[in-house]
Subunit: 341 residues, 2 copies
């Protein structure tokens, strides 16, 4: 299996991505093609003593799409941008999946432009796995589409369920609609219009509305929301988690000698917890609804996160998630036609 | 100064509210009128040895609005519901401010129905103070109005600025629009339409878009968002903070003898931190935009939170926030008329 990695346009530069890919090849025995500036990649491979590994190849791409560029315009005008080159390789089946950690907007645009949507899918969605008290919750959409229509939300629910079932091994995953109250009558226009559609969708196990506080409780396995709300919530989670950790550290450091000793003693336990909560362990988010396996990592991903993402990408391919989503969406369309007849 | 407290319709029943009010009278020397079932309140006052305190009075209200009732319908049909009786007292100037911790929807509906909006305000907003790394950030709207129009968001920004300046003593408070990117071109339709209006509003110090991760960083003092987004984010914060604390406890308990000892040693420091982050210390959220000081507490508020809320209500009255909001909104309207001429 060959995974393409777009190594450009990220916060820490190509070195973390190249290292992450090198480690993935060693750990999983896959092949990888590194897409980006050939000179830089070659130098990094030498540095990591991986320049003679035949499982690793390079595809040169002379341009980069920066975080602040307009995604659709940049993707259309920069034919040689690393993300566009990589997405084109995926379309041409020169690789089985793609891992990117550059601009999310550009990744989504490149996926739409080069790969296209699965038949019947109106909008792709980004599905992000986050740790909960009971395991993992999938939140989608976390930013592919703002102002989503109710139909898009239903498709998100179906895609998120396939992901939870196939890749997280959750049987009959529970789906909740993110809302401001549990009652069916609560919510904004979008939520009010989405609720009845989710209720009648036979492809999912919809259990009703969930509130913000349910996300980490693990009340449901799949949380469906608009891309705007999902993006705000997930970025907020990042900020809040790191703020709490910072405040705990400060409190211990300012708490006198005994507190400092206590801080040292709990360090191993905290390290273990940190590992469990570390987004790097989760290996990025899945762009669902496009015609090939596409993983979007955080712009500040380090090597470990990239290695995990490559593992997730392999699983994404092996479990044939793209194909199963296509089947489920086709089923949903057939059912809708039956209802409308 | 007399503060009315609606003691009915909350998660823990009237006892926490009555105790909180009794403690506030002792601590702040204010008067309070407890609105709800007279028999229950009398019994609780006896229990707390406060039945002969002349600063504490009772106003009987025979009905309660439950959390799951339709707010507007319930407020209109239950004339004798505690929140309606209390709001009417506030309108008739029988008290200076009102503290409630029943159904938020019913509180907003009662405020609109009995008090009405400040002249020029189209929609009230709930402003919630939350702890940040640098102090306190005000998030509004946290649930009074979903599907807010851009004009409502601008009014929220003005009201939030007055709150931050007068009650949190922040000079020229920085205002940010909650969005999915920093650039002016990012966002959903609502955010895109709101940005230019905030930019030209002279009554506020608008610094641009902020993302979810900025809320706890303290990047800005006032975060403006739609009531749907604000509600989801704040409930998520609750859930996430308590999940992290629970996981830390578990990690320490499962970490062996040394980790447990460490846990004991850091306890005082953690307690201090918990106090700083405790929503009970913040005394509830302000319902801004209605014609009198109205505080909405969490349905699960305990006595301490109610005491804090009464303190905040007194400050709300003393700082004349309602009047100042009226002036600022009038100024904004005058300016808009000038621009349109």
């Amino acid at each position: 299996m060959k995974i393409a990695v777009d190594v450009m346009g990220t916060d820490y530069g190509p070195k973390e991505l190249v290292l992450g890919a090198v480690n993935a090849v060693k750990a999983f025995g896959c092949e990888t093609v590194l897409v980006g500036d050939e000179t830089i990649i070659k130098k990094l491979l030498q540095e990591y003593h991986a320049d003679s590994d035949e499982r690793i190849s390079i595809r040169h791409a002379g341009e980069v799409i920066a975080m602040d560029e307009h995604p659709a315009i940049a993707v259309k005008s920069k034919k040689d941008a690393s993300i566009v080159v990589a997405a084109r390789m995926l379309r041409n089946k020169e690789c089985d999946a793609l891992v990117s950690s550059g601009s999310t907007g550009a990744a989504v645009a490149a996926a739409l432009f080069c790969l296209g949507r699965i038949k019947g899918i109106e909008r792709p969605a980004i599905a992000t796995p986050i740790p909960s008290l009971t395991g993992t919750t999938v939140v989608l959409d976390s930013g592919a589409k703002v102002d989503a229509k109710p139909e898009h939300m239903v498709q998100s629910a179906i895609m998120g369920s396939v992901y939870a079932e196939k890749m997280l091994h959750i049987t009959n995953p529970k789906v909740g609609l993110l809302n401001i109250g549990e009652e069916e009558t609560k919510g904004n226009e979008q939520a009010l219009a989405t609720y009845p559609l989710l209720k009648q969708a036979k492809q999912i196990n919809f259990i009703g509305n969930v509130e913000g506080r349910d996300i980490n409780k693990g009340t449901v396995d799949v949380v469906v929301c608009d891309g705007f709300v999902g993006n705000v919530v997930l970025k907020f989670a990042e900020g809040l988690a790191s703020a709490i950790m910072k405040l705990i550290k400060e409190a211990i450091l300012n708490g006198g000698v005994l507190a400092k000793l206590g801080g040292l003693l709990i360090k191993p336990a905290m390290k273990k917890l940190k590992k469990r909560l570390d987004p790097a362990e989760y290996g990025g988010a899945l762009l669902l609804g496009v015609r090939a396996p596409f993983i979007i990592c955080h712009g500040s991903s380090k090597a470990k996160a990239i290695t995990s993402a490559i593992g997730v990408a392999m699983d994404f391919v092996e479990k044939d998630v793209v194909h199963i989503i296509g089947q489920k969406i086709a089923e949903a369309h057939e059912r809708n036609e039956e209802i409308n007849q």
